[in-house]
Protein backbone atom coordinates (compact mmCIF):
# COMPACT_ATOMS: atom_id res chain seq x y z
CA UNK A 1 0.00 0.00 0.00
CA UNK A 2 1.30 3.48 -0.83
CA UNK A 3 -0.69 6.47 0.28
CA UNK A 4 0.27 10.03 -0.46
CA UNK A 5 -0.82 11.94 2.63
CA UNK A 6 0.27 15.37 1.50
CA UNK A 7 -0.66 17.54 -1.47
CA UNK A 8 1.03 16.17 -4.57
CA UNK A 9 3.89 18.35 -5.76
CA UNK A 10 7.57 18.95 -5.34
CA UNK A 11 7.61 17.70 -1.75
CA UNK A 12 5.21 14.98 -0.89
CA UNK A 13 5.01 12.28 1.73
CA UNK A 14 4.03 8.71 0.96
CA UNK A 15 3.29 6.23 3.72
CA UNK A 16 2.46 2.56 3.61
CA UNK A 17 -0.23 2.74 6.30
CA UNK A 18 -2.47 5.73 7.00
CA UNK A 19 -1.86 5.51 10.76
CA UNK A 20 0.69 7.32 12.91
CA UNK A 21 1.09 8.55 16.48
CA UNK A 22 0.15 12.11 17.43
CA UNK A 23 2.96 14.45 18.44
CA UNK A 24 3.83 14.08 22.10
CA UNK A 25 2.69 10.52 22.54
CA UNK A 26 5.57 8.37 21.27
CA UNK A 27 8.62 10.43 22.21
CA UNK A 28 11.39 11.60 19.89
CA UNK A 29 12.44 8.26 18.47
CA UNK A 30 12.08 4.70 19.74
CA UNK A 31 10.71 4.95 23.31
CA UNK A 32 8.14 2.28 22.48
CA UNK A 33 10.68 -0.26 21.24
CA UNK A 34 9.57 -3.71 22.34
CA UNK A 35 5.99 -2.54 22.83
CA UNK A 36 5.05 -1.46 19.32
CA UNK A 37 6.18 -2.81 15.98
CA UNK A 38 7.24 0.44 14.27
CA UNK A 39 7.28 -1.34 10.95
CA UNK A 40 3.48 -1.42 11.01
CA UNK A 41 3.06 2.35 11.41
CA UNK A 42 2.82 4.83 8.56
CA UNK A 43 5.19 7.32 10.14
CA UNK A 44 6.62 8.51 13.44
CA UNK A 45 5.54 11.98 14.54
CA UNK A 46 8.02 13.26 17.12
CA UNK A 47 7.32 15.12 20.33
CA UNK A 48 7.10 18.91 19.86
CA UNK A 49 10.42 20.65 19.33
CA UNK A 50 11.48 24.28 19.68
CA UNK A 51 14.78 25.92 18.78
CA UNK A 52 15.63 26.85 22.34
CA UNK A 53 15.35 24.20 25.06
CA UNK A 54 12.05 24.25 26.99
CA UNK A 55 11.72 23.21 30.61
CA UNK A 56 9.01 20.97 31.98
CA UNK A 57 5.94 22.65 33.48
CA UNK A 58 5.95 22.98 37.25
CA UNK A 59 3.32 21.24 39.35
CA UNK A 60 0.86 18.57 38.36
CA UNK A 61 1.23 17.27 34.82
CA UNK A 62 -1.46 14.61 34.52
CA UNK A 63 -4.95 14.42 36.00
CA UNK A 64 -7.10 11.36 35.44
CA UNK A 65 -10.65 12.21 34.30
CA UNK A 66 -13.72 10.06 33.70
CA UNK A 67 -12.68 8.23 30.52
CA UNK A 68 -9.90 10.68 29.81
CA UNK A 69 -6.90 12.60 31.03
CA UNK A 70 -5.74 16.19 31.40
CA UNK A 71 -2.10 16.73 30.55
CA UNK A 72 0.12 19.74 30.92
CA UNK A 73 3.77 19.03 30.29
CA UNK A 74 5.06 22.38 29.09
CA UNK A 75 6.39 20.51 26.03
CA UNK A 76 9.86 20.04 27.48
CA UNK A 77 12.54 19.45 24.86
CA UNK A 78 16.28 20.05 24.70
CA UNK A 79 16.03 22.31 21.64
CA UNK A 80 16.12 21.47 17.95
CA UNK A 81 19.90 21.08 17.61
CA UNK A 82 20.13 18.54 20.44
CA UNK A 83 16.98 16.70 19.34
CA UNK A 84 18.56 16.22 15.92
CA UNK A 85 21.95 15.29 17.31
CA UNK A 86 20.64 12.73 19.77
CA UNK A 87 18.09 11.07 17.52
CA UNK A 88 19.51 11.24 14.02
CA UNK A 89 20.98 7.75 14.05
CA UNK A 90 17.86 6.25 15.57
CA UNK A 91 15.70 7.92 12.93
CA UNK A 92 17.90 6.55 10.17
CA UNK A 93 17.32 3.05 11.52
CA UNK A 94 13.54 3.38 11.84
CA UNK A 95 11.67 1.54 9.07
CA UNK A 96 9.22 4.43 8.60
CA UNK A 97 9.40 8.12 7.71
CA UNK A 98 9.89 10.59 10.56
CA UNK A 99 7.73 13.72 10.82
CA UNK A 100 9.20 16.33 13.15
CA UNK A 101 6.64 18.34 15.13
CA UNK A 102 7.76 21.96 15.25
CA UNK A 103 6.08 24.27 17.75
CA UNK A 104 4.79 27.32 15.87
CA UNK A 105 6.16 30.30 17.77
CA UNK A 106 7.06 33.06 15.31
CA UNK A 107 8.02 33.65 11.70
CA UNK A 108 11.68 34.06 12.65
CA UNK A 109 11.61 30.82 14.63
CA UNK A 110 10.00 28.96 11.75
CA UNK A 111 12.52 30.29 9.22
CA UNK A 112 15.45 29.39 11.46
CA UNK A 113 14.08 25.92 12.14
CA UNK A 114 13.42 25.43 8.44
CA UNK A 115 16.98 26.19 7.43
CA UNK A 116 18.28 23.77 10.09
CA UNK A 117 15.89 21.03 9.04
CA UNK A 118 16.59 21.29 5.34
CA UNK A 119 19.95 19.67 6.06
CA UNK A 120 18.48 16.74 7.97
CA UNK A 121 17.61 14.00 5.53
CA UNK A 122 16.38 11.72 8.30
CA UNK A 123 13.36 14.01 8.67
CA UNK A 124 10.83 13.28 5.92
CA UNK A 125 8.35 16.01 6.74
CA UNK A 126 7.53 18.70 9.30
CA UNK A 127 4.32 19.16 11.24
CA UNK A 128 3.82 22.75 12.38
CA UNK A 129 1.77 23.16 15.59
CA UNK A 130 -0.23 26.38 15.80
CA UNK A 131 -0.94 27.77 19.25
CA UNK A 132 -4.42 28.11 20.69
CA UNK A 133 -6.11 31.43 20.13
CA UNK A 134 -3.78 32.37 17.25
CA UNK A 135 -5.02 35.12 14.91
CA UNK A 136 -5.57 34.26 11.25
CA UNK A 137 -2.94 36.73 10.04
CA UNK A 138 -0.30 35.29 12.37
CA UNK A 139 -1.21 31.77 11.35
CA UNK A 140 -0.92 32.63 7.66
CA UNK A 141 2.49 34.24 8.14
CA UNK A 142 3.73 31.25 10.13
CA UNK A 143 2.56 28.73 7.58
CA UNK A 144 4.05 30.71 4.71
CA UNK A 145 7.39 30.92 6.51
CA UNK A 146 7.43 27.22 7.33
CA UNK A 147 6.43 26.32 3.78
CA UNK A 148 9.77 27.65 2.55
CA UNK A 149 11.28 24.42 3.85
CA UNK A 150 12.26 21.83 1.29
CA UNK A 151 10.05 19.24 2.90
CA UNK A 152 6.32 18.55 2.95
CA UNK A 153 4.55 20.69 5.57
CA UNK A 154 1.70 19.41 7.72
CA UNK A 155 -0.13 22.03 9.80
CA UNK A 156 -1.78 20.99 13.07
CA UNK A 157 -4.81 23.13 13.84
CA UNK A 158 -5.81 24.43 17.24
CA UNK A 159 -9.13 22.98 18.37
CA UNK A 160 -11.37 25.98 18.98
CA UNK A 161 -10.19 27.92 15.94
CA UNK A 162 -10.36 24.96 13.58
CA UNK A 163 -13.64 25.84 11.84
CA UNK A 164 -12.44 29.39 11.29
CA UNK A 165 -8.78 28.81 10.35
CA UNK A 166 -8.79 25.59 8.37
CA UNK A 167 -10.31 26.95 5.13
CA UNK A 168 -7.92 29.92 4.73
CA UNK A 169 -4.88 27.91 5.83
CA UNK A 170 -5.65 25.24 3.28
CA UNK A 171 -4.91 27.90 0.64
CA UNK A 172 -1.72 29.13 2.28
CA UNK A 173 0.95 26.62 1.38
CA UNK A 174 0.23 23.77 3.75
CA UNK A 175 0.61 20.31 2.20
CA UNK A 176 -1.82 18.71 4.65
CA UNK A 177 -3.95 19.80 7.62
CA UNK A 178 -4.00 17.86 10.86
CA UNK A 179 -7.39 18.22 12.62
CA UNK A 180 -6.86 18.95 15.48
CA UNK A 181 -4.67 19.53 18.50
CA UNK A 182 -6.41 18.52 21.74
CA UNK A 183 -8.61 21.18 23.34
CA UNK A 184 -7.44 23.01 26.45
CA UNK A 185 -9.30 22.50 29.67
CA UNK A 186 -9.10 22.77 33.42
CA UNK A 187 -9.55 20.12 36.09
CA UNK A 188 -8.98 19.72 39.78
CA UNK A 189 -5.95 17.82 41.01
CA UNK A 190 -7.55 15.77 43.75
CA UNK A 191 -4.25 15.14 45.50
CA UNK A 192 -3.16 18.76 45.65
CA UNK A 193 -6.65 20.31 45.66
CA UNK A 194 -5.76 22.85 42.96
CA UNK A 195 -7.29 23.58 39.56
CA UNK A 196 -4.82 22.72 36.79
CA UNK A 197 -4.94 23.74 33.11
CA UNK A 198 -3.86 21.51 30.28
CA UNK A 199 -4.96 19.56 27.26
CA UNK A 200 -7.88 17.14 27.38
CA UNK A 201 -7.67 13.65 25.86
CA UNK A 202 -10.18 10.82 25.78
CA UNK A 203 -12.74 9.05 23.62
CA UNK A 204 -15.32 11.86 23.99
CA UNK A 205 -13.06 14.16 21.94
CA UNK A 206 -13.67 12.03 18.88
CA UNK A 207 -17.27 13.00 18.08
CA UNK A 208 -16.26 16.67 18.31
CA UNK A 209 -13.37 16.32 15.87
CA UNK A 210 -15.19 13.85 13.64
CA UNK A 211 -17.77 16.54 12.91
CA UNK A 212 -14.99 19.04 12.15
CA UNK A 213 -13.39 16.63 9.71
CA UNK A 214 -16.68 15.88 7.99
CA UNK A 215 -17.72 19.50 7.65
CA UNK A 216 -14.32 20.84 6.65
CA UNK A 217 -13.71 18.04 4.16
CA UNK A 218 -16.76 19.37 2.32
CA UNK A 219 -15.52 22.96 2.59
CA UNK A 220 -11.82 22.63 1.77
CA UNK A 221 -10.47 21.96 -1.70
CA UNK A 222 -9.76 18.30 -2.23
CA UNK A 223 -6.09 18.92 -3.02
CA UNK A 224 -5.36 19.39 0.65
CA UNK A 225 -5.47 16.08 2.47
CA UNK A 226 -6.87 16.12 5.99
CA UNK A 227 -5.23 13.98 8.65
CA UNK A 228 -7.58 13.36 11.56
CA UNK A 229 -6.49 13.34 15.18
CA UNK A 230 -8.60 13.26 18.32
CA UNK A 231 -9.95 10.57 20.60
CA UNK A 232 -9.13 7.54 18.43
CA UNK A 233 -9.34 4.49 20.68
CA UNK A 234 -10.31 1.68 18.33
CA UNK A 235 -10.01 0.61 14.71
CA UNK A 236 -13.63 1.68 14.20
CA UNK A 237 -12.83 5.21 15.42
CA UNK A 238 -10.09 5.38 12.80
CA UNK A 239 -12.36 4.03 10.09
CA UNK A 240 -15.00 6.63 10.95
CA UNK A 241 -12.49 9.39 10.28
CA UNK A 242 -11.50 7.83 6.97
CA UNK A 243 -15.19 7.58 6.07
CA UNK A 244 -15.60 11.26 6.93
CA UNK A 245 -12.89 12.13 4.41
CA UNK A 246 -9.56 11.94 6.24
CA UNK A 247 -6.63 10.48 4.30
CA UNK A 248 -4.88 9.26 7.46
CA UNK A 249 -5.20 9.34 11.25
CA UNK A 250 -3.07 10.09 14.27
CA UNK A 251 -3.66 8.12 17.46
CA UNK A 252 -2.90 9.95 20.69
CA UNK A 253 -3.21 8.90 24.33
CA UNK A 254 -4.90 5.56 23.66
CA UNK A 255 -1.36 4.32 23.03
CA UNK A 256 -0.38 4.94 26.65
CA UNK A 257 -3.21 2.81 28.00
CA UNK A 258 -2.86 0.11 25.33
CA UNK A 259 0.36 0.39 23.35
CA UNK A 260 -0.67 -2.34 20.93
CA UNK A 261 -3.84 -0.45 19.98
CA UNK A 262 -1.84 1.86 17.74
CA UNK A 263 -0.36 -1.11 15.92
CA UNK A 264 -3.72 -2.81 15.80
CA UNK A 265 -5.34 0.22 14.17
CA UNK A 266 -2.45 0.42 11.72
CA UNK A 267 -2.86 -3.25 10.85
CA UNK A 268 -6.56 -2.73 10.36
CA UNK A 269 -6.30 0.31 8.10
CA UNK A 270 -3.14 -0.98 6.47
CA UNK A 271 -4.92 -3.98 5.06
CA UNK A 272 -3.40 -6.58 7.35
CA UNK A 273 -5.97 -8.75 8.98
CA UNK A 274 -5.10 -10.25 12.34
CA UNK A 275 -6.91 -13.55 12.16
CA UNK A 276 -7.93 -15.32 15.30
CA UNK A 277 -7.36 -19.03 15.31
CA UNK A 278 -10.44 -20.83 16.48
CA UNK A 279 -8.83 -22.32 19.56
CA UNK A 280 -6.11 -19.77 20.11
CA UNK A 281 -5.33 -18.63 23.60
CA UNK A 282 -5.83 -14.95 24.20
CA UNK A 283 -2.08 -14.41 24.15
CA UNK A 284 -1.78 -16.01 20.78
CA UNK A 285 -4.09 -13.83 18.79
CA UNK A 286 -4.84 -10.57 20.47
CA UNK A 287 -2.18 -8.09 19.49
CA UNK A 288 -2.96 -6.10 22.62
CA UNK A 289 -1.93 -8.81 24.95
CA UNK A 290 1.58 -9.99 25.45
CA UNK A 291 3.84 -11.62 22.92
CA UNK A 292 1.58 -11.94 20.00
CA UNK A 293 2.36 -13.12 16.54
CA UNK A 294 -0.78 -12.21 14.69
CA UNK A 295 -1.14 -13.82 11.33
CA UNK A 296 -0.55 -11.31 8.61
CA UNK A 297 -1.88 -11.38 5.17
CA UNK A 298 -2.08 -8.62 2.65
CA UNK A 299 -5.69 -8.26 1.70
CA UNK A 300 -7.77 -5.90 -0.30
CA UNK A 301 -9.80 -3.69 2.04
CA UNK A 302 -13.15 -5.36 2.71
CA UNK A 303 -16.01 -4.37 0.37
CA UNK A 304 -17.86 -2.15 2.80
CA UNK A 305 -14.64 -1.05 4.46
CA UNK A 306 -12.82 2.25 4.48
CA UNK A 307 -11.91 3.94 1.26
CA UNK A 308 -8.17 4.23 1.59
CA UNK A 309 -7.51 6.46 -1.38
CA UNK A 310 -6.08 9.86 -0.59
CA UNK A 311 -8.71 12.50 0.02
CA UNK A 312 -8.02 14.47 -3.13
CA UNK A 313 -8.92 11.59 -5.44
CA UNK A 314 -12.47 11.46 -4.12
Amino acid sequence: MAIEITRPGKYSLIVSTPVMPAAGTLGFADSYKGLIDYDKLGALVTNPVTIEPWNPASGTRAIPLDAGILLHTGLPNPGLRKVIGRNRKLWAKLPIPVILHLVGISVAHALQAGSMLDDVDEIAAVELGLSDGIELSDALALVEAAAKMEKPLLVRMPFYECYELAPPLAEAGADALVLTAPPRGTARDDHAGRLVSGRIYGPLIKPLVLRMVGRLRREIADEIPIIACGGIHSPQDARDYIDAGAVAVQVDTATWAQPKMLERIARDLGGWIATRHKDALLDEWNPDMGQTEAIERRAAPPEAGPDLRPGRKR
Binding site: P56, R61, A67, I69, W256, M289, G290
Partner: protein
Protein backbone atom coordinates in the same frame (compact mmCIF):
# COMPACT_ATOMS: atom_id res chain seq x y z
CA UNK B 1 10.29 -2.95 28.44
CA UNK B 2 7.40 -5.04 27.29
CA UNK B 3 3.70 -5.59 27.72
CA UNK B 4 2.59 -8.85 29.24
CA UNK B 5 -0.37 -10.44 30.91
CA UNK B 6 -0.65 -11.39 34.55
CA UNK B 7 -3.42 -12.82 36.67
CA UNK B 8 -4.33 -12.62 40.30
CA UNK B 9 -3.62 -16.00 41.84
CA UNK B 10 -4.56 -15.33 45.45
CA UNK B 11 -5.90 -12.50 47.60
CA UNK B 12 -5.04 -12.27 51.31
CA UNK B 13 -6.36 -9.69 53.73
CA UNK B 14 -3.42 -8.50 55.83
CA UNK B 15 -5.22 -6.10 58.14
CA UNK B 16 -8.26 -3.87 58.46
CA UNK B 17 -7.19 -1.60 55.63
CA UNK B 18 -5.09 -3.65 53.23
CA UNK B 19 -5.10 -6.79 51.16
CA UNK B 20 -2.25 -8.43 49.29
CA UNK B 21 -2.53 -9.85 45.80
CA UNK B 22 -0.32 -12.69 44.56
CA UNK B 23 0.24 -11.84 40.92
CA UNK B 24 1.39 -14.57 38.54
CA UNK B 25 3.52 -12.65 36.07
CA UNK B 26 5.46 -13.16 32.88
CA UNK B 27 9.05 -14.43 33.22
CA UNK B 28 10.30 -11.07 31.94
CA UNK B 29 9.32 -9.61 35.33
CA UNK B 30 11.11 -12.16 37.50
CA UNK B 31 14.21 -10.00 37.66
CA UNK B 32 12.26 -7.02 39.05
CA UNK B 33 13.99 -5.45 42.04
CA UNK B 34 13.08 -3.02 44.79
CA UNK B 35 12.39 0.39 43.26
CA UNK B 36 10.94 -0.95 40.06
CA UNK B 37 7.21 -0.87 39.45
CA UNK B 38 4.45 -2.07 37.14
CA UNK B 39 1.96 -0.09 35.08
CA UNK B 40 -1.24 -2.04 35.35
CA UNK B 41 -4.52 -2.07 33.52
CA UNK B 42 -7.39 -4.41 34.33
CA UNK B 43 -8.54 -6.16 31.19
CA UNK B 44 -11.49 -8.21 30.11
CA UNK B 45 -11.40 -11.60 28.53
CA UNK B 46 -13.54 -10.17 25.81
CA UNK B 47 -11.08 -7.61 24.60
CA UNK B 48 -13.68 -5.75 22.56
CA UNK B 49 -15.62 -4.82 25.68
CA UNK B 50 -12.69 -2.72 26.86
CA UNK B 51 -13.66 0.34 28.84
CA UNK B 52 -11.72 3.59 29.05
CA UNK B 53 -12.63 4.50 32.59
CA UNK B 54 -10.25 4.41 34.42
CA UNK B 55 -8.08 5.77 31.64
CA UNK B 56 -4.57 5.74 33.04
CA UNK B 57 -2.65 2.66 34.06
CA UNK B 58 -2.11 2.29 37.79
CA UNK B 59 1.41 2.39 39.20
CA UNK B 60 1.99 -0.63 41.42
CA UNK B 61 5.17 -1.13 43.45
CA UNK B 62 5.40 -4.82 44.35
CA UNK B 63 6.15 -5.44 48.03
CA UNK B 64 7.64 -8.92 47.64
CA UNK B 65 8.54 -11.62 45.13
CA UNK B 66 8.04 -15.38 45.50
CA UNK B 67 9.14 -18.34 43.44
CA UNK B 68 10.43 -16.06 40.68
CA UNK B 69 7.06 -15.42 39.06
CA UNK B 70 4.76 -14.33 41.88
CA UNK B 71 4.84 -10.62 42.65
CA UNK B 72 3.04 -9.51 45.80
CA UNK B 73 1.03 -6.28 45.61
CA UNK B 74 -0.45 -4.38 48.55
CA UNK B 75 -3.75 -2.66 47.84
CA UNK B 76 -6.44 -0.98 49.92
CA UNK B 77 -8.96 -3.52 51.19
CA UNK B 78 -11.80 -1.55 49.64
CA UNK B 79 -10.47 -2.02 46.09
CA UNK B 80 -12.33 -4.81 44.39
CA UNK B 81 -10.28 -7.66 42.98
CA UNK B 82 -11.12 -11.28 42.21
CA UNK B 83 -8.84 -14.29 41.94
CA UNK B 84 -8.24 -15.20 38.32
CA UNK B 85 -8.66 -11.60 37.20
CA UNK B 86 -6.51 -10.67 34.20
CA UNK B 87 -4.19 -7.68 34.12
CA UNK B 88 -2.15 -6.11 31.37
CA UNK B 89 1.28 -5.08 32.62
CA UNK B 90 3.90 -2.72 31.27
CA UNK B 91 7.18 -3.13 33.13
CA UNK B 92 9.48 -3.21 34.85
CA UNK B 93 9.23 0.59 35.09
CA UNK B 94 12.23 2.49 36.41
CA UNK B 95 15.57 1.62 37.98
CA UNK B 96 16.27 -0.50 41.07
CA UNK B 97 17.24 1.40 44.22
CA UNK B 98 21.00 1.67 44.48
CA UNK B 99 22.16 0.66 47.98
CA UNK B 100 25.59 1.26 49.39
CA UNK B 101 27.76 -1.81 49.25
CA UNK B 102 28.51 -1.55 52.97
CA UNK B 103 25.01 -0.90 54.22
CA UNK B 104 24.46 -1.48 57.92
CA UNK B 105 21.50 0.68 58.68
CA UNK B 106 18.80 2.24 56.52
CA UNK B 107 16.10 4.78 57.31
CA UNK B 108 12.82 4.61 55.40
CA UNK B 109 10.28 7.44 55.52
CA UNK B 110 6.72 7.33 54.17
CA UNK B 111 5.11 10.77 54.05
CA UNK B 112 1.48 11.17 52.98
CA UNK B 113 1.61 7.78 51.23
CA UNK B 114 1.62 4.13 52.18
CA UNK B 115 5.15 2.73 52.47
CA UNK B 116 4.42 0.16 49.70
CA UNK B 117 7.15 1.54 47.42
CA UNK B 118 9.70 0.86 50.18
CA UNK B 119 8.63 -2.63 51.24
CA UNK B 120 10.15 -4.75 48.47
CA UNK B 121 13.63 -4.06 49.86
CA UNK B 122 12.77 -5.40 53.32
CA UNK B 123 13.35 -9.12 52.74
CA UNK B 124 16.68 -8.81 50.87
CA UNK B 125 18.02 -6.18 53.30
CA UNK B 126 17.01 -8.21 56.37
CA UNK B 127 18.85 -11.14 54.83
CA UNK B 128 21.92 -8.94 54.60
CA UNK B 129 21.30 -8.09 58.29
CA UNK B 130 20.77 -4.42 57.57
CA UNK B 131 19.05 -2.54 60.40
CA UNK B 132 15.81 -1.00 59.14
CA UNK B 133 13.86 1.88 60.62
CA UNK B 134 10.54 2.93 59.11
CA UNK B 135 9.17 6.36 59.98
CA UNK B 136 5.53 7.09 59.18
CA UNK B 137 4.64 10.75 58.67
CA UNK B 138 1.53 12.68 57.82
CA UNK B 139 -1.34 10.49 56.67
CA UNK B 140 1.08 7.54 56.62
CA UNK B 141 0.73 7.44 60.41
CA UNK B 142 -2.62 5.67 59.93
CA UNK B 143 -0.85 2.76 58.24
CA UNK B 144 -1.12 -0.44 60.27
CA UNK B 145 2.20 -2.29 60.44
CA UNK B 146 1.33 -5.58 62.17
CA UNK B 147 1.98 -7.56 58.99
CA UNK B 148 5.50 -6.20 58.45
CA UNK B 149 8.55 -8.21 59.61
CA UNK B 150 9.12 -7.89 63.38
CA UNK B 151 12.79 -6.93 62.96
CA UNK B 152 11.89 -3.51 61.64
CA UNK B 153 11.77 -0.56 63.99
CA UNK B 154 8.65 1.49 63.34
CA UNK B 155 8.29 5.12 64.43
CA UNK B 156 5.35 7.49 64.21
CA UNK B 157 6.59 10.99 63.48
CA UNK B 158 5.10 14.02 65.23
CA UNK B 159 3.10 16.71 63.49
CA UNK B 160 6.27 18.74 62.95
CA UNK B 161 7.79 15.80 61.02
CA UNK B 162 10.30 15.07 63.79
CA UNK B 163 10.50 12.14 66.23
CA UNK B 164 12.13 11.65 69.62
CA UNK B 165 15.52 10.16 68.75
CA UNK B 166 15.64 11.70 65.32
CA UNK B 167 19.23 12.96 65.42
CA UNK B 168 20.47 9.51 66.39
CA UNK B 169 18.39 7.73 63.75
CA UNK B 170 19.67 10.06 61.09
CA UNK B 171 23.24 9.66 62.25
CA UNK B 172 23.11 5.89 62.26
CA UNK B 173 21.51 5.58 58.84
CA UNK B 174 23.85 4.98 55.89
CA UNK B 175 21.03 5.85 53.52
CA UNK B 176 17.58 7.39 53.71
CA UNK B 177 14.68 6.72 51.30
CA UNK B 178 11.69 9.04 51.50
CA UNK B 179 8.50 7.96 49.72
CA UNK B 180 5.97 10.69 48.96
CA UNK B 181 2.55 10.46 47.33
CA UNK B 182 1.53 12.22 44.14
CA UNK B 183 0.33 15.83 44.50
CA UNK B 184 2.64 18.41 46.05
CA UNK B 185 5.33 15.73 46.19
CA UNK B 186 8.18 18.15 45.62
CA UNK B 187 6.90 20.45 48.36
CA UNK B 188 6.67 17.47 50.69
CA UNK B 189 10.22 16.40 49.90
CA UNK B 190 11.27 19.99 50.54
CA UNK B 191 9.59 19.87 53.97
CA UNK B 192 11.53 16.76 54.84
CA UNK B 193 14.83 18.11 53.58
CA UNK B 194 14.37 21.16 55.82
CA UNK B 195 13.72 18.96 58.83
CA UNK B 196 16.74 16.77 58.07
CA UNK B 197 19.00 19.77 57.40
CA UNK B 198 18.16 21.14 60.81
CA UNK B 199 19.47 17.90 62.36
CA UNK B 200 22.46 17.19 60.14
CA UNK B 201 24.34 20.06 58.66
CA UNK B 202 26.00 18.70 55.64
CA UNK B 203 24.18 16.12 53.64
CA UNK B 204 26.42 14.00 51.44
CA UNK B 205 25.52 12.86 47.93
CA UNK B 206 23.74 9.51 47.64
CA UNK B 207 22.58 9.72 51.23
CA UNK B 208 18.94 10.80 51.07
CA UNK B 209 16.69 9.81 48.17
CA UNK B 210 13.19 10.90 47.31
CA UNK B 211 10.99 8.12 45.97
CA UNK B 212 8.42 9.64 43.61
CA UNK B 213 5.07 8.17 42.73
CA UNK B 214 3.68 10.60 40.20
CA UNK B 215 1.05 9.31 37.82
CA UNK B 216 2.84 8.04 34.72
CA UNK B 217 0.85 8.44 31.50
CA UNK B 218 3.19 6.37 29.32
CA UNK B 219 5.83 4.88 31.62
CA UNK B 220 8.35 4.44 28.82
CA UNK B 221 9.95 7.87 28.44
CA UNK B 222 7.74 9.05 25.59
CA UNK B 223 5.33 11.63 26.97
CA UNK B 224 7.74 13.55 29.20
CA UNK B 225 4.94 14.22 31.70
CA UNK B 226 7.10 12.83 34.52
CA UNK B 227 10.16 14.99 33.82
CA UNK B 228 12.03 16.40 36.78
CA UNK B 229 14.50 19.21 37.02
CA UNK B 230 17.79 18.11 38.53
CA UNK B 231 20.77 20.32 39.07
CA UNK B 232 22.01 21.00 35.55
CA UNK B 233 19.94 18.33 33.90
CA UNK B 234 16.53 16.74 33.52
CA UNK B 235 15.44 13.20 34.25
CA UNK B 236 12.30 11.12 33.84
CA UNK B 237 10.71 9.44 36.82
CA UNK B 238 9.60 6.50 34.66
CA UNK B 239 13.00 5.85 33.09
CA UNK B 240 15.53 7.14 35.64
CA UNK B 241 13.47 7.04 38.84
CA UNK B 242 11.66 6.50 41.05
CA UNK B 243 14.51 7.44 43.42
CA UNK B 244 16.41 10.71 43.08
CA UNK B 245 19.20 12.07 45.24
CA UNK B 246 17.54 14.93 47.10
CA UNK B 247 20.69 17.03 47.02
CA UNK B 248 20.40 17.21 43.22
CA UNK B 249 16.61 17.35 42.72
CA UNK B 250 15.11 20.83 42.30
CA UNK B 251 12.39 20.93 44.93
CA UNK B 252 10.48 24.16 44.26
Amino acid sequence: MKESQAYIERITRVNRDFQRLDLAVDKSLSSLRAGQALLVRRIDKDYEAEQWDPYLRELWFPVDIHASNILVIEQPARSHFTPGQLLSIIGPVGQPFRFRQKLRSILLIAYHTTPAALLMMLAPLLEREVGITLVLMGTARDYETGHLPGEIEIIQADDDLSWSDMVMTLGWADQVFVAVGPGDELEHLGDIMRVIRRRRNNIPANYVFGVLQRRLPCGVGACHACMLNLRGTQKLQCVDGPAFDLTTLRLN
